[in-house]
Amino acid sequence: MGNHSDGSPNHSGTVATAGQNEVEKFQDPGLPPHRLRLADTDPVAAKRAERQVAILFGISVIGTLVFLVAYFAIDLGKDSTIATIRTQNLLLGLGTAFAMLGIGTGIVHWAKALMPDHEVSEERHAIRTEEDRQAAVRIVDDIVEETGIKRRPLIRNTLLGAIALAPLPALAVFGDLGPRPDNTLAHTMWAPDGGKLKRLTRDPDGTPIKASDVTIGSAFHVIPEGLNELPEGKLNAKAKAVVLLMRLDPSSLNPSAGRENWSYNGIVAYSKICTHVGCPVALYEQQTHHLLCPCHQSTFDLTQECKVIFGPASRPLPQLPIAVDAEGYLVATSDFKEPVGPSYWERDEHERLINS
């Protein structure tokens, strides 16, 4: 290491430069001469810098006091408003900011204006010397020799085998992180319960919807009857069962074979869970009859059974077959005929299971 005690660039100009003997290159002129700062030559400037540093530290003290006053003087009682919280947050933040910036800028100003600003040069050392390498090789050889592992392959091989197997329990022990996937992904709450068809009810209050309530152009966010009364697993059930209900001019619907009676008077119900990665497809464009997913902009065309017309989704939204019960309420005549939501490896298998 060089001697930096005097802070002088004592290596400059003398260090060897790669390619210095090449005439075709400019020679390294060495470190540029040091330029004095104002505070180095003018005691008044130095005194001024000193005062500036002290003022900055003083600002930090004020910041700390502001924080403490804001913390203890502002009451977040029951009747405090959001404005109180905003004010307190602002004052706590400004107090901390000034407390920290005062110290930080003070120290940096001190370092830049008053501490010696000579750049010094230090030699780099080889990260690995050849001598060290040889010594290390000898040590490793000795260690290997003393263990005798080369001479006793039986020990080596059994050890390798044991070590290779030993982590398996550490993997197996996580087996109960979750249940094995079964057919639950294929079913939703819409399946008729003991022959009783589930009514379509409003999200979130759960009041049933009459067909006559659904006017042309309107859209309803729908949950199955009984969802709110579930003792547990409400969110799990809702995550699969949410439905969008819309009424179009019946002539603009083009049901495919087998789906003719899935709608009622132009009222159709589609799963609200995007077939892309599962966001709720919440935006209904009334004029174009398009459904748009706000997460990744998959767009589905209601007049073509929610076929994908734009965006990253690849499958149409599943349709819920609906009808009207004796009291005029909308009901689902069966569960979805395919798994809802994002696709998964077993999806096709599940779809075949549902339709068998």
Partner: protein
């Protein structure tokens, strides 16, 4: 400490502080450590601060995060909100969301701590990324620092993991929809995807386990790994010593800068307080993640115009760019009775996979092409490595296209353009953008090198117009002093390295490939100006040269 102590007469401290210091020193050997590091030289440059910002924001994260753990309850049990934020009074929600609201509204300073934590997290990933860009564009990843570059890449991934696991904890509507997207992506993985999803969520989405599990990852496992990586990273910085920018007096055999004590320590230490102060200022004045506006997680509602935190944006953007149906052909396919969701799997894994693979292997790729096995401690100015700089900007552009795509809906609404058109343009840029960026950057870098050459040979323009006796007007050029000139000429500009035969005298196919890449890498080059050229330029009788004035502007990087 004075050097008067000898083996016979042990050092006896006089003051109280001295006795205490001596007590510790005799037991831990602090003198030796201080002797080694007390005056260690650190090069100084503004671009070296990004790594410091990352380190300091991590410290701020640890402090603010510890505060938050005292009040946060990661339970997904149902509760009714009874706190002081009236719009949500009596609303059903999870305990986790309830405690997040309490931190915001009923714990004094809680909202401030939440905002400090979130802003510091955004700053952490951002400064880490910019630091990596600095390291890449200056060639600081070259021997002997390749492994430290890899550690940095691991830190980038860990910082994204830390951010993501923390983002979901409040169990609000926005982060819940984010988790659902993750679930959708996981389910697209062939064969094991559904299993991973069920294991992660403890059954079907959303279940009641995920917040608690993410919490343990967020406050224990991920920060511990980050801390470990930071220790390894800084240890290697000490072993290698810091790189330095090229300039007079700086070479691969030395390190020029300020001694640790006092100047560098003061500047770096003071900088911690400045970073903390700036984060506090942001937390004071700018709302981040107002979870009370989003409401508790519910699988049915969603808000429009929502984005993930910025560092996840590029993956979300890639998801948006991928078409699900191409000309009537469905990207999701059924093979052998199983569903292969390529429209999710490809964009989620492939771009990120390519970015991180190239990132991790780049030091070795470049070393193979250039066959440069020397140690490099002097950085490249980005213009002096035009092909590398162009590669970097191409990759950066690719990333930015995907990142912009994560805001495609906001671009459409803010600029009143069609959402579909924004997507079509970004899809095009996804493929074309990197090539344009590569070409433009390389030309710009070469042009800057030519400008440097021009300035080194003919001096800088002074802006003074002089009329010569025969009527010609010229601008007076001032020659550079030798220090400033050396900065412009003191770099290497390697020639392409032709294919070399191996030990058996055979030029292998891979060696031919390497030679082709070397040609591509170094073919376009601007050689640094030489003393002979300077001589020639002067001999041309440049009347316009005047003495270098004291007002000479310094050339910055």
């Amino acid at each position: 400490m004075s050097a008067s102590s000898t083996a016979e007469a042990p050092f006896v401290p006089e003051s109280k502080v001295g006795r205490f210091t001596n007590f510790v020193d005799e037991r831990v050997g602090g003198s030796g450590i201080l002797r080694e590091f007390g005056r260690k030289v650190f090069p100084d440059h503004w671009s070296f601060m990004f790594g410091e910002v990352a380190l300091y924001s991590f410290v701020i994260l640890l402090m603010s995060g510890t505060f938050l753990t005292f009040f946060f309850d990661p339970s997904m049990a149902e509760t009714h909100y009874q706190g002081s934020y009236t719009p949500l009074y009596n609303v059903d929600m999870s305990v986790a969301y309830n405690s997040s609201l309490n931190i915001s509204f009923d714990v004094r300073g809680g909202l401030f701590m939440r905002q400090v934590h979130h802003w510091a997290a955004l700053l952490f990933v951002a400064s880490l990324s910019v630091h990596m860009l600095r390291v890449f564009f200056t060639g600081a990843f070259r021997k002997p620092r390749e492994m430290n570059w890899v550690v940095g890449g691991v830190l980038l991934i860990l910082s994204m993991a830390a951010g993501f696991t923390g983002y979901s904890l409040p169990d609000d509507l926005l982060s819940g929809n984010g988790l659902r997207i993750i679930d959708g992506v996981i389910k697209s993985i062939p064969i094991i995807g559904t299993y991973i999803s069920f294991f992660l969520f403890g059954g079907e989405f959303p279940g009641t386990a995920i917040i608690g599990r993410l919490y343990v990852l967020h406050i224990l496992l991920v920060p511990a790994l980050i801390l470990l990586m930071i220790v390894i990273h800084l240890f290697m910085v000490v072993v290698h010593k810091h790189t330095q920018y090229p300039g007079p007096g700086r070479n691969d055999g030395n390190v020029v800068g300020y001694p640790l004590g006092p100047v560098y320590a003061a500047k770096a230490g003071g900088f911690f307080f400045i970073v903390f102060g700036v984060v506090a200022l942001m937390a004071a004045a700018f709302t981040i993640n107002p979870i009370w506006n989003y409401g508790p997680y519910d699988p049915s509602p969603v808000s429009a115009g929502t984005q993930p935190d910025w560092y996840i944006g590029f993956v979300d953007g890639a998801l948006r760019l991928m078409p699900g149906v191409i000309n009537g052909w469905h990207v999701e396919q059924t093979i052998f009775g199983h569903t292969l969701t390529l429209n999710v799997l490809l964009p989620a894994l492939v771009p990120a996979g390519i970015i991180f693979t190239v990132l991790f292997t780049y030091p070795w790729i470049e070393r193979w092409i250039t066959k440069d096995n020397r140690e490099h401690h002097v950085l490249d100015r980005p213009r002096n490595a035009p092909t590398r700089t162009a590669i970097g900007v191409a990759g950066f552009t690719w990333y930015c296209v995907m990142w912009a795509a994560a805001g495609s809906d906001l671009i459409a609404t803010h600029f009143s353009v069609s959402l579909n058109d924004v997507t079509y343009w970004l899809r095009t840029l996804f493929f074309v953008g990197p090539f344009i960026a590569f070409f433009v950057t390389k030309r710009v870098a070469l042009a800057l090198q030519r400008k440097d050459r021009e300035i080194a040979l003919h001096g800088r323009e002074t802006g003074r117009i002089v009329r010569l006796p025969h009527g010609e007007f010229i601008e007076v050029h001032a020659p550079l002093d030798e220090y400033k000139r050396y900065k412009l000429v003191g770099f290497e500009s390697p020639l392409p390295l032709p294919a070399q035969p191996n030990g058996h005298g055979v030029v292998t196919r891979s060696e031919k490939r390497r030679a082709a890449l070397s040609k591509w890498f170094f073919e376009d080059r601007v050689a640094p100006a030489t003393p002979a050229e300077l001589e020639a330029a002067h001999a041309h009788g440049h009347h316009e040269t005047i003495e270098a004035g004291a007002d000479q502007k310094s050339l910055s990087h």
